[in-house]
Symmetry: C2
Subunit: 485 residues, 2 copies
C-alpha cells in the first residue's frame, strides 16, 4: 500500500478554514500560488496556476457568448474625462474610484484621461458613430479587458484595484429586446457558473441603491461562500436609453423616426476565482471543480525498487492515454519530493483526482484513484482508466455542486420579524429571506444595524403579503439579505 500522506509540515502552513476563514483564504491563495501581492498598492499578480483557472473560466464564457451571437472587440484603456462626465449618474458613481493619467510623452495632457473603470462611455461614443439605421442593430459586442477602480480595502481576486473581466455592451431597437438580452446574459452567467464552476447562484434584481451607476435595472447572480457570506458573482444591466441619450446613439427606426437605442451591459471578473476558492475549499486547501481545474488528474508514481524502469513508463503511458482523451494530466515525477509530500501539495492545490501507481500496482495491472473531495480511494484496473476517470470527474463535478446547493439550503432562513432577523444575522447565517417594503431607508437601517444588505430580489413568482421586517409597512417583495463580500 502507498505510504500515508506526510502532509503535516505542509498543512500547518494553512490556517484551518474552520478556525479563521479569512486567513485560510489568504493562505490558500499564497500557498497554492494563485496570486501574489505586487509592489503596486491594491494590485495583485495572477500567478500561472491562478491564471490557468481564469483561462478555463474565460473559455467557458467565451464559448457561450459566441454561441449567443456575440463578438469580441477591443476599446481603448483611456477615456477622456469629458466623456465619462456625460452620463450624470455614471460619473457620480465612478469618479471617486478613478485613476487619472495627467502626463504622457513628456508633457502635461490638455485633457486628463481616466483609466477605464468600465467602458460604457468610450463604447457608447463609438456606437454613436456606428449606428445609423435599425439595420445596424442589434450590436452584440463583448470585450475581455483590464479595468481599474481605486479601492481602499483590497483582497486578492475579490477586490483589487486592477482586475480582469469581460464586459458585454449591446444596443437594441426596442426596450423589450434590451430587457430580453439583459436577462438572457444573466441566464448565461448562471448556467456557466453553476455547470462549470459548480457554484449555485441566486438570480435576481438589485435594489435601486445597489444598481449600476447609470442603469435602469441591474440584475445579479449571488453565490454563498463557505463562511456564510454572499458574493456578487456577476451583474447584467438594462441601461435603458440613459447612455444612448448621453452619447447620442441614435438610429432611424423602421418607421423613419429618429430613436435612441436601448442598451445593456454585463460583466464577470477574476473575482470568480475567489468565489471558487471560498465555495469549495477545505482545511487542506483548494478543491477545484474538474471543468476549471488546470490539472484534473495528478499521477504520483511510488518510487520503490527500480521504479524508473517499471512504474515510470507505465505512468507515462497512462498520462498519454488520458491526455489523448482530452483530460488535463500532471505527472509529478520529481525525485526530489516524497509521494506523501506530493499528495499534500496537490491536495492543497485542489487537483480533483490523484492517481497513485507503485511497483505492486504495475504487477497487478491496477492503480489507486483518490478523490479530492471525499478522499475516497478506488483501486482501478489500468484497462478501465479511459472510461473510469472521465466518469469520476463528472461525478466529482456534480458532487461539488450538490454539496454547495445543500450548504446553501442549510444556510437560508426565512424570517418574518425584525427580532428574528437580527437573531439570525448574528454569526454566519447565509441568506435570510425577509419581506421588505421597498424603501431605501429601511434597507440602509438594516445595513447599519446588522451589516446585512439586500443581495437581490428574486425573479418570478413570490410569496405575496407580509410586513416589512424593518418598518412593518406592507411588503412589496421578498428580499434575499446577507452579509456580503
Amino acid at each position: 500500500m502507498p505510504k500515508k500522506p506526510e502532509n503535516d509540515a505542509l498543512v500547518t502552513e494553512i490556517t484551518p478554514r474552520s478556525q479563521d476563514f479569512s486567513r485560510w483564504y489568504l493562505d490558500v491563495v499564497r500557498r497554492a500560488e494563485l496570486a501574489d501581492y505586487s509592489p503596486v498598492k491594491g494590485c495583485m499578480v495572477i500567478r500561472p496556476y491562478g491564471y490557468a483557472i481564469w483561462e478555463l473560466i474565460q473559455q467557458a464564457f467565451d464559448r457561450r457568448f459566441k454561441a449567443t451571437g456575440h463578438v469580441n472587440a477591443y476599446f481603448p484603456l483611456f477615456i477622456p474625462e469629458g466623456l465619462l462626465q456625460k452620463e450624470a449618474d455614471h460619473v457620480e458613481g465612478f469618479s471617486p474610484q478613478v485613476a487619472y493619467v495627467t502626463h504622457a510623452g513628456g508633457e502635461a495632457l490638455e485633457e486628463k484621461l481616466v483609466v477605464r473603470p468600465t467602458s460604457e462611455a468610450i463604447i457608447g461614443t463609438m456606437y454613436a458613430k456606428w449606428v445609423q439605421s435599425w439595420r445596424d442593430l442589434p450590436i452584440l459586442i463583448n470585450q475581455w479587458a483590464n479595468v481599474v477602480r481605486w479601492e481602499k480595502v483590497t483582497r486578492p481576486f475579490l477586490r483589487t484595484t486592477e482586475f480582469l473581466w469581460q464586459e458585454g455592451h449591446t444596443a437594441h431597437e426596442t426596450e423589450a429586446e434590451a430587457e430580453e438580452e439583459t436577462l438572457k446574459m444573466l441566464g448565461v452567467y448562471q448556467e456557466v457558473v453553476e455547470s462549470e464552476l459548480a457554484m449555485p447562484v441566486l438570480t435576481g434584481r438589485k435594489t435601486d441603491s445597489e444598481r449600476f451607476a447609470g442603469a435602469l435595472r441591474t440584475y445579479s447572480i449571488e453565490a454563498l461562500m463557505g463562511d456564510g457570506r454572499a458574493l456578487q458573482a456577476g451583474t447584467s444591466h438594462n441601461l435603458g436609453q440613459n447612455f444612448a441619450k448621453a452619447f447620442e446613439i441614435k438610429f432611424q427606426a423602421r418607421d423613419k423616426s429618429l430613436q435612441y437605442v436601448w442598451g445593456t451591459s454585463w460583466g464577470v471578473s477574476t473575482r470568480l476565482v475567489g468565489g471558487l476558492i471560498m465555495t469549495h475549499g477545505d482545511d487542506s486547501g483548494l478543491i477545484l471543480p474538474p471543468r476549471v481545474a488546470p490539472y484534473q488528474v495528478v499521477i504520483v508514481p511510488i518510487p520503490r525498487g527500480n521504479w524508473q524502469e517499471t512504474v515510470l513508463p507505465k505512468a507515462q503511458a497512462i498520462r498519454d492515454e488520458l491526455t489523448a482523451k482530452g483530460i488535463r494530466v500532471m505527472l509529478d515525477d520529481r525525485d526530489s519530493q516524497t509521494p506523501g509530500w506530493k499528495y499534500a501539495e496537490w491536495e492543497m492545490r485542489g487537483v480533483p483526482l490523484r492517481l497513485e501507481i507503485g511497483p505492486r500496482d504495475v504487477e497487478n495491472g491496477q492503480v489507486v484513484l483518490v478523490r479530492r473531495d471525499t478522499r475516497e480511494k478506488t483501486p482501478t484496473p489500468m484497462a478501465e482508466l479511459a472510461t473510469r476517470v472521465p466518469a469520476l470527474l463528472d461525478d466529482l463535478q456534480r458532487a461539488l455542486f450538490e454539496r454547495a446547493v445543500q450548504f446553501r439550503q442549510e444556510h437560508t432562513t426565512r424570517v418574518d420579524s425584525w427580532d428574528e432577523f437580527k437573531a439570525v444575522m448574528e454569526g454566519r447565517p447565509g441568506f435570510v429571506i425577509a419581506p421588505w417594503c421597498g424603501s431605501a431607508a429601511c434597507e440602509a437601517e438594516v445595513k447599519a444595524e446588522t451589516q446585512a444588505t439586500i443581495r437581490n430580489l428574486p425573479l418570478g413568482e413570490q410569496r405575496s403579503g407580509g410586513a416589512c421586517i424593518k418598518c412593518g409597512k406592507a411588503a412589496v417583495a421578498e428580499a434575499y439579505f446577507a452579509k456580503a463580500y
Copy 2:
C-alpha cells in the same frame, strides 16, 4: 451563370493599392471594419472583424508557447516610477514614451505610476521574490496584455499609443540557456508568422542602435510589405543579467554560490494584423490567409425564383457540413443585398473562398468555388465539398506564402558600393543587402541620407570580406537594409 460582381460602387471607396499604398491601407482598415479611430489620441478601437483575426493569431502563438513549456500569468498594469528607473538603459529608452498616473481615488499619489510600456520592471521585481534556488529555474512565463507607449505619429495596428501584445519573460540558470531560449522563441515567431500568417520573415540580430533598452542582444523577424518597406514583426531579447542585477534576481546555484539569473523577453503585437494586410492585400481590399481568416468560406446564395425553398436549404446544409469539418463559414443570406454587392463586400474583407450557389447549381448538384487570390472559378460537385474545400484552403494558404516569398526575392538586392546602394534605395527597393563595418556612425549616416535602416544582421554563415558601403573599411557583417515602418 451567376451575375458578374456589381462591385464598382464599393471598390471606388478603396484607393487602389498601386496608386497610394498608404491611403489604400487606411481605406482597407476602415472599409473592412478592422479598426476605427477613437476619441483618445493615438488609440484605436479594434472592431470585431479585426479582433477575430487577432484572436486567431493569439491562439496560434499561445498553442506554441504552451507546447514549448511556457505558462501564462498576469502582472499589474501600473509600475511605480522608482521601479522603472532601476535599470538605467531601460528607463532612458522608455521614459520619453510613458504615460503617468498621478491622481487616483480622489488624491494625488505619493509616487507616480507608469502605465506599463513593457513589463520587465514589474516582472523582474516579482521574480526576485519567487526565485531562491536553481530548482526554481527556469521560469517560463508569458503575458497577454495591453501596453502604452506615447507615440507622436500613429497608424492603426502599425503604431498606436495603446496596443495589445504578448510578452514572454524568462529566467535561467546559465547564459547559454538564456541564449537558447531567445533563439528558440525567435524560431517560434518565424514558424507561426510564416505558416499561419503566410508572411515570410528574415531572422537576424539587431544592431546596437536598434537593441531593446536594457538588453544584451535583440533578435527580430522582419517582413517585407507590398510597398517595399520592411516591418519589424517580432523581437526576442537576451537580457543577460542586466535586469537580474537591477532587480536583485538571485539564486543559490548548484555549487551553493549566489548567482544572478539570466533573462530573456520576447514579444509580438497587434501590429501583425497590419503586416497581414500589407503583405497580401490587393486593389479590391484584404486577402486573408485561411488559417487566420475569421470566415474561410462565404456562401452566397443566388436569389432566383423560389430560392428560399430550393437554394437556401442547400446552402444551409453545406454550411453545416463544412462547419462540422472545422471550417469557419459565413452564409450571407441577407435579402437586402444583391449577390454582386456581396461578392465585392466579402472580397474586400478578404474571405479566402467564395461559394456561389443558385437554382441551376442545385439542379446540377454542384456549386461554384471562387478563390480570393486568383479569382479562379471552379465548379465543384456538392458531394466533394467536404474534401475539396479544405484542399483549396490549404492550397491558397501555400500560394499566398509562395507569392510573398517570390515578391521578397524580386525585392531583395545585393550591392557592394554606396552609389549602387543609393540608386537602389530610391523608390521601393525592398531589402538591400550590403557589407557594413559595424560602426553606429555609418549606420546613422546611411539613415540620414537614404531613410534606410539596418533591419537585422542575418544569423548563420555569411559571405565574408567586402568593404563597408559607407566608409569603405573592412566589413564585419552583411546587413539587411530597408526603409521600414
